[in-house]
Symmetry: C2
Subunit: 214 residues, 2 copies
C-alpha cells in the first residue's frame, strides 16, 4: 500500500510521509493536480521540497499516494448490507455516512471529483475493477428490494448516482453554498442537511424514515 518501493520502509519518519500526504491533500484539492506546486506542498508540511521528493519520487507518485488513501473512504456499512436488512435503515445510514465524509474530509471529496471530471485517468489504475464489482453487487441488492416492492424507484443506478451527487455536493460546492447561505456550513448545518437529504431520498422512494434520522 504505502511502500511504493519508494524507500526501504521508513521507520520513524513514516511520520513525515503522513505530514506530506496531509499537506498534499489540501493543495491538490484546492489547486488540482497541474496547479499544485511541490514547493507549496513542502511549505505546508514545513519541510524542504527535496525532502518531499525523497519520499515520493515524483509529483505523480505523491498524487497516487494521496489518491490511494482517499479511496479507502469508499468503504461503508452499505458494503455488507443484505436482502434481510431494512432498506430504510440501510439507505438512511449510507446517506448519513456519505454526508459525514463530506463534512470531515472535504479535501478528499474534492480530489475525487477533480479526478473524475478529468476523466479519471488515475483512478482506473487501481479502483476501476473493484468499483464495478461493488456497483454490480449493490445494484443487485437494490433491484431485489425494488422487485419485492419494498422501495419504489425507477432504477437502482440512478438512485445511487443521486445519493452520491447530493452528498458529495456539500463538500465539492462548499464555496457556492457558503456564498448563498451567507456563511460556511457548521456541524449543526450538516445535521440539518443530512436530515433534509434523508427525507428527500427516502420519501422519494416511498420509504418510512427511521426515527433516529428524522
Amino acid at each position: 500500500m504505502s511502500d511504493n518501493k519508494n524507500v526501504k520502509e521508513g521507520r520513524i519518519s513514516a511520520h513525515n510521509k503522513a505530514k506530506i500526504i496531509a499537506a498534499a491533500e489540501k493543495e491538490f484539492a484546492l489547486q488540482g493536480y497541474k496547479g499544485t506546486r511541490l514547493q507549496q506542498v513542502a511549505d505546508r508540511a514545513k519541510l524542504p521540497k527535496t525532502n518531499v521528493l525523497y519520499y515520493f519520487h515524483s509529483k505523480e507518485g505523491l498524487y497516487l499516494a494521496v489518491l490511494e488513501q482517499i479511496l479507502s473512504l469508499w468503504n461503508s456499512a452499505f458494503d455488507q448490507a443484505t436482502v434481510e436488512d431494512d432498506p430504510a435503515e440501510v439507505l438512511a445510514r449510507y446517506i448519513a455516512e456519505k454526508m459525514e465524509i463530506s463534512r470531515t474530509k472535504p479535501e478528499a471529496s474534492k480530489i475525487f471529483a477533480l479526478e473524475i471530471i478529468n476523466g479519471a485517468p488515475n483512478l482506473n489504475k487501481f479502483f476501476r475493477d473493484q468499483h464495478i464489482d461493488w456497483m454490480d453487487s449493490r445494484v443487485g441488492l437494490l433491484q431485489t428490494w425494488i422487485d419485492q416492492g419494498k422501495i419504489n424507484t425507477p432504477d437502482p443506478y440512478y438512485l445511487l448516482f443521486n445519493i452520491w451527487a447530493c452528498s458529495q455536493h456539500y463538500a465539492d460546492f462548499s464555496a457556492q453554498i457558503t456564498e448563498l447561505k451567507g456563511q460556511a456550513m457548521e456541524k449543526q448545518d450538516f445535521t440539518e442537511a443530512t436530515k433534509a437529504l434523508i427525507h428527500l431520498i427516502l420519501t422519494g422512494c416511498e420509504l418510512t424514515i427511521p426515527a433516529e434520522y428524522s
Copy 2:
C-alpha cells in the same frame, strides 16, 4: 459583454473569437485552468497561438470570456415562476432543464464545477451578487409553497442544492457513470435519468408528478 476593450470590435473575425472560445471550453473542462495550455487551445481552434493572444490578451482573459458565456446558461424558466404556478410543474420543468444542460453542455458544467471546487475565485467577480439575489427570491418562493402546505420538504435551500447536485452530476461525473454502467449515457439514457430524478425529487416533496414527466 464580449468587447472586453480587447480589440476595437472585431467584425468578420468575431468568428474567430467564437472558434477560440469553443476550443478553450473543451480544454478548460478537461484540463482545468492551470492544466490548459494555450498551444492546445490554438491547435484545437486551428490557429496559431499568437492569434489566440491577439483576441484575448491573456490566458486569464480567455478564461473569463469562456466563463461569462457559461454563466448565461443559468437562466431558466424557473426565474419567472410565481406563487400562482403549480410547484410540481415548475420543479419538474426546472429539473428537466438542468438535465438537458448537463447532456448538451457538459463542458460548461464541468468548468463551473472546477471553478467552484477551486473556491470560485473568478465567479465572484461578476456572478456573486446577482446569484445571491436570485437565490433569495427563489428560496422565498419555495418557502411560500412550503408554508402553504403545497410541498413538503424541510428546507428550500437544501432542496435547490440537491437538485443542482444531481443534475450537474450527470455531466461532471460522466466518466464514472460510463465506467459503472458499461457505456456512455445516450440521449435515451438521459431521458430515463431525468424521469428518475423528477420522480425522486417530486415524490420526495410529496408532489404529484405531472403527466408529461412520468
